[in-house]
Each structure stands twice: as C-alpha cells, then as structure tokens.
Chain length 429, copies 2
C-alpha cells in the first residue's frame, strides 16, 4: 500500500495517488530549485537541464527522445493539440470540399451549466461539410478526443461487441480525404487494448497506395495512451503511431501534467501563444515539479511493470473466481487491472453507494461521464442493453491494494450484491 487510506480503493482508472517517491522527487523543485528555467543564471540553467533530463526519462520509456515530446497540462490538452496536425483547411483543396455557412457555426457545446457558452471559434471554423471527413476516431474514445473529432466533422469507427476496433469498418471509412485517425491504446471504461500495430499496418498500405496515385495528403495515427502507461510496455516505433498522448495523473504521478509525443514529420500548431516554451508549441513557464514527478512516475512504472502486471492478473483471477452473480463484460485484450462486471437488474449507482458505506470504492463508468449523469457512450457502443449499462460496475486495481484487500472486497461485494438481489426479489413479489 502506498498510503494507509482506511479503504479499499478499486477505481485506479479514475485517479491514482502520487507515489511517495514521486512526491519526494518533486519537492525540491517547489522549494530550493524553484527557479524559472528561462532565467540567465546558473541555478536556473540547472533547473532547465533537470527539466530536459526529466523529459528525456519520460521519452525514453516509450522509445523516443525528450525533444519529441511537448509537455501539456494533461491528456485532454495533449489530445486537443494532436488535432492541430490537420493540414490548413483553407488550402485550395480543402476549400473545394468545405461548405461554410452561418449554420455550421452554431454552438455545439450546450447545457454545461454556465449560460452562454459558445464552442471554440477555432473548432467551429475548422468544421467541415460532413461529406469530406478528414478525421476518423474510434467510437469509444474519451470525450477529449471524441468532442474535438466531432467538432471537426470526424466520422466514428465502430467497435466489435468485445470493444475492439472493427478493422473492416476502418478500411471502409478511410478515403482520400482522411488525414488523421485517432484510436486510443486502451479504453478508459473497458480497459480494452486496441491492436494499434494492425491499424498502423493498414495505414502504411494506404499510404503506399496513395503515393502510387500521386496523392500527397498526410495520413497520421494518433493514440491516447493515458490509461495504459503503467500497464503495457509501450514503444512508439512498435505501435507505429505518429502522435501519442501521455498522462502523469493515472500512473501515480501528479495531476495536471501530460505530454504529446510528436513524430518528426508532423507539423503542429500551438493552441496558445506566448513566451515560446516547448519549441513554440506550448507557451507558459514550465511546470518543473510536475514534469520531474511525471518522469519519476514513468521510471517507476517501467521498473515495476512486469511485477505489477503479474500481481493484478492474480488479483483479477481471485475476483472473477470468487465474486458471484455477475456477467463479465470485458473478456479479452483487456488491461490486467480492469474488470467491468454487469449485475443484471441491479442499479450499479446504488451499488457504488452501498459499497462506499462498507469502505469499497468502485465506479460505474468514466468519472467524467458519471458526474454528468450521462449514459456511457462506450458501453452503448459495444451493444449493451440499457439494463446492462445500468448494472455495470468498473473495478480497476492498483498500487493502493494488497491481496488481503482483494479477499475483503470479494466478501463485501458478494454480500451487498446478494442483499440487493434479495431486496429486488422481495419487491417484485
């Protein structure tokens, strides 16, 4: 256990505590080593080189160089930044297929509490006529990919009932206009690991075929790897991606720090302008402690990857064997710490509440979706019925757990589920 939290926390996909060793690594950069990396004197230059070294550590963990990374305030910003790789829309070519009208500029983001929010001018201006999709994205993507892709008029790629990308649907939907394909490495609600290398291989074939026909349009592969950084051995070359989103907050690093890996031949545009940090692509004084912490978290994740995976596989087996009355939603190609269990006929939100009273913390879906009371678009996409969605619990294991907790969780969950089934049975009499 990292911290004695007096609870059994089984929601590591939503958030992880900062590892003590990570916090220790960060501390000096809040205090004695607080200097602005852009300042001219030596201690500031040392901070600057520590920052670059930390970027290198993060980069090396995925098989690239520090200069290939753009540090961001998290995965959401990195995902948004990835979409700036689209070629300039106002080229003659794009102009032909774009139908600009007042109506296409109508606000899309609505009902988010604050009155009068209009969607980004940026996004709106980039929006295209639906008949010329430049973006394809997996239908189960996180909102930070999905909403941007939709805003640009992107088209969704289907998933099979097991949550894996439908490669036939992908092939069918790639046209000569397609520039960017976004497929997460592992889904945040199901833990489903996508066959990125296969996607990359399809893309390679199409690029060769395009080249033969003299079509020069780019065709990039972006992947959000936020959920998988400490559960898979990630190597950019092996994955075959051009853009990869990383996040510290899900791997026992600090919240508010992420990065985008950018291949050398990809041109991005900054989302914000200013002092020109991160090679002009992401201005603002560097979050030095955050990046130092991110690097330490990556280092630890890499070091303990195999040990942790074995541990989770074992705990998962205990849970799946000893828990009762559930249907397993995510069978295959799933991160080792992930389980989505469906208790048919039971309201999972009620289960979350009852389990919480016994000190067990689980989720119904992604935290973002849960807080808005929106039905999970992911569970819908894999073809679950309304009743199945309503009865689905997400359990994600992690470093705050130990084996005793797993046995204890089994006991508590089984008892509560049993009581619930009895209660429902009694009600229906």
């Amino acid at each position: 256990m990292y911290y004695n939290m007096g609870m059994i926390y089984l929601d590591h996909a939503a958030a992880t505590p900062v590892d003590k060793r990570v916090l220790e690594a960060m501390k000096p950069y809040f205090t004695e080593r607080f200097f602005n990396p852009s300042a001219a004197y030596l201690p500031a230059k040392e901070v600057s080189s520590d920052y670059e070294a930390a970027k290198n550590t993060i980069a090396h963990a995925i098989g690239v160089k520090g200069s290939d990374l753009i540090i961001t305030a998290g995965a959401t910003e990195a995902n948004n930044l990835a979409f700036t790789s689209l070629s300039n829309k106002f080229s003659d070519e794009a102009r032909r297929c774009s139908s600009f009208s007042e109506r296409s500029l109508a606000p899309v983001v609505t009902g988010l509490g604050r009155s009068g929010i209009a969607p980004s001018a940026i996004m709106l201006l980039e929006r295209e006529h639906p008949s010329c999709h430049r973006i394809l994205y997996l239908i189960t993507e996180h909102d930070s990919v999905r909403h941007v892709a939709e805003r640009y008029g992107g088209e969704a790629i289907k998933v099979l009932p097991n949550g894996i990308i439908d490669l036939d649907d992908l092939k069918k939907k790639i046209t000569d206009e397609t520039e960017l394909i976004s497929v997460s490495l592992a889904n945040n609600e199901l833990g489903t690991v996508q066959p990125l290398a296969e996607v990359a291989s399809i893309i390679r074939e199409i690029k060769i075929e395009r080249m033969k026909r003299g079509i020069k349009k780019q065709l990039l592969l972006h992947s959000d790897a936020s959920q998988a950084l400490n559960l898979l051995d990630i190597n950019v070359a092996r994955l075959g991606v051009d853009l990869l989103t990383l996040n510290a907050g899900k791997i026992y690093g600090p919240k508010g720090v992420g990065a985008l890996y950018v291949s050398h031949d990809v041109k991005l545009k900054p989302l914000t302008l200013g002092g020109g940090q991160e090679n002009g692509l992401r201005s603002g004084t560097e979050n030095v402690p955050g990046v130092i912490g991110f690097a330490k978290a990556m280092e630890l994740a890499k070091k303990h990857l195999n040990g942790n995976r074995k541990k989770y596989v074992n705990w998962r087996k205990i849970l799946l064997t000893e828990l009762q009355g559930y249907e397993l939603i995510n069978h295959k190609h799933v991160l080792d710490n992930f389980m989505v269990l469906c208790y048919n006929g039971i309201d999972a939100e009620r289960l979350v509440f009852l389990l919480e009273e016994k000190g067990v913390y689980v989720a119904t879906g992604a935290a973002c979706a849960a807080s808005k009371g929106v039905r999970s678009h992911v569970l819908e996409a894999i073809g679950l019925s309304d009743e199945q969605i309503a009865g689905s619990l997400r359990i994600t294991l992690g470093e705050t757990n130990d084996e005793d907790q797993i046995h204890e969780a089994v006991k508590i969950i089984n008892e509560i589920v049993k009581n619930e089934y009895q209660r429902i049975k009694a009600l229906s009499r």
Copy 2:
C-alpha cells in the same frame, strides 16, 4: 527567509519558491486526498468541494465568486483564453471587414528551434484585415498577450516614457470596431502599475456613446494581473475589468496554475474540449493540489500585503540610496519590489554573470526574452537607447530576502560595478 538558499535572490518577478505553508496545504491532495473530483463516492465529492472552496478563496481575494473563475495551467493560458471573448468573426459584420487570403495565413511563429512550426490555425483564421482592429493592447504587454493580439491583427497602444499607458493614444485608437482592450495591471519588466480605473472610465464613456448611436458591439477590458497579485490590493469592481488573469507561480504558489476571472456578461469559447470541467470552458481532470496551493498563496498574499509592501519600500529605499553609478529607469507608479537600474556603458548581461559568482541573482529583462537573446520590447517602448537597454538590470525583491541580504547586496553590486567601470575605462585608454 523562506528557504536557506545560500544566495541573495533578487529576481522574484521571474519565479518565486513555493511557500512552506502552501506546500503543506497541497500535500494531502497529492496523497490521501488524490481522488478524481468527478467520481461518484463521498471522498471524491469532498475533494470536489475542497476544490470549489479553494476557487472561492482565490476569487474572494479579488472581490468575486469562485464560479467567476476559470482555472487554467497558468497566466499564458488565461491570457489566451481571454481573447476567445472576441465575437464570432464570421458574423456578417465581421465578414465585411475581413479580407481572407492565402497570404494572410502564412506562418508567423518562426525561428523557435523546431522546424516547420506553423501558428495555430485558430489564430490564423481569426486574423483580420489590419484596417479593422478589434483588439487594442498595450505595447509593453507580455508575449502571451502581445503575440495573440498581433495574431488577431491587434493594434498597439503607446506608453509614455515613464511606462504608463498613453491615454490620448488609447482614445484615438478606439474605433467602432474595437471589442477588446488588454492592459496589464503591472508590467513584468518595469513593474509599472497602469491606471486601469482610468482606462475603464474611458471605456464606460465610449460604451454610453455607442449605445446612443445604437451600436451594440461589446467593448471589454482585459488585464493581466500576474505580476501584481501579492503587491496590490486588487478588487475587480474597483479596477473595472471584464477579464483578469491571475497566476500562482509569482506569489509563492505552484507553477502551472492560473485563473481567468470572467465577468458574467462575457462569453468565452474553450481552447480545448473534453470532459467539460470548469463549466465546459476548460476540460481536463482538475489540478486539485495546484488549486489548493494557489488558494493558500492568495490567502497569505492578502494577509501579509501591507506588511510586505512596507518592508519592500524600506529595502528599495536602502538600495536606491546606497547603490552607486546607476540611473533609475522606473520612477513612479511602480510595484514596491521593482527596480530597473541602468548602468550606462556596462553590459548588464556581464553584470548578471559577475553578480552570480558572488551569490547575487538579478535579471536583465523578462526571463523569457532573456533566454532567447531578444532585446526587450518593453525597454524599447519607453524610449531607452540601445546602450541603456544593454546596461539595464532588473531587481525584484521578495520573501526570500531579509534586510541583511539587502545591505550585503549593496556592497557586492557596488564593488562589481566599480570594477567594471574601471575595467572599461582602462580598456578605452
């Protein structure tokens, strides 16, 4: 002294260490209270309410409510976000005065190291014909305002030789097209405090006059207050601003956290899309420890404002009295901890280096400009000669200092300056 750093740090405008009390306040939110504020269980909801309480603390310090703030990753993002308040350009009206051409989309950000950087599509698409300025900005603004304003085709307002806004120039440049005026509360290189209330009063008059003529176009006042948060008693109503940029990293809070105050009647557009946090205007899992730290830093800044100001005024007096051979560049309406001293004929960059060897840390200009070897646009704007700019040192006092250090600094600076003048004299013989 906050930390025994074994040095005399006189560059508090570039960066400040995190106050020990701030770090203590942050710690639990890295560890035990790490939950995702969007999760459904009680401990997560408690974190969410701590986060909202922290936003309220920050907001109250400037006389507004927490719901009026959008938390960002720093001042740069907040400044960029402020510019999304521009009305949608593709209204009929804007269309009339916009001349869209391929040439106006040519990259503007160049020479920043990484090859092939193109400016944000966003910004480019928003760029207008120079003859219809919708933005006015003070010529001495920080790059994160200046570069965005320039990208939108904004026009610069002049400053007087004392660094204060030329109100006559402002009045002359406001046209019926003007929508947004950006004037920082205090300049980051000179510390010059701008008469924002006077600017606001001019704007009010113009709005009344516009109303009489039936012109409904918005006219907003944005101000970057990053540099002044712990040195002035800031109240949004008194300043008369519609948008105000705040930053934790300059007031002994953590780097990578900032906020934008947004008046109720101002409509912003998100720079990034995703989970819909911050009322849909700034998606991404909340940086809880960062915001908790920001709130603590604001609380301390407010509490010690008068005491610290008195202390700095006293130390400033000692320095200005006892230092020799300089010309004071910023005389009046300057933050209490700021001094820009010009040593005519001496290379200030050399001084920074020589002082560093004796443990005294000062700056030549803004850290960002310094690291790029670019001549300060601020010192140029107030009419300094090339020689004066080359000889200018920025000294900014702060909480790492004590009176002994000030006396020690006087001794060291005077000695080094004396030696330099002698060396130059010897060379010129």
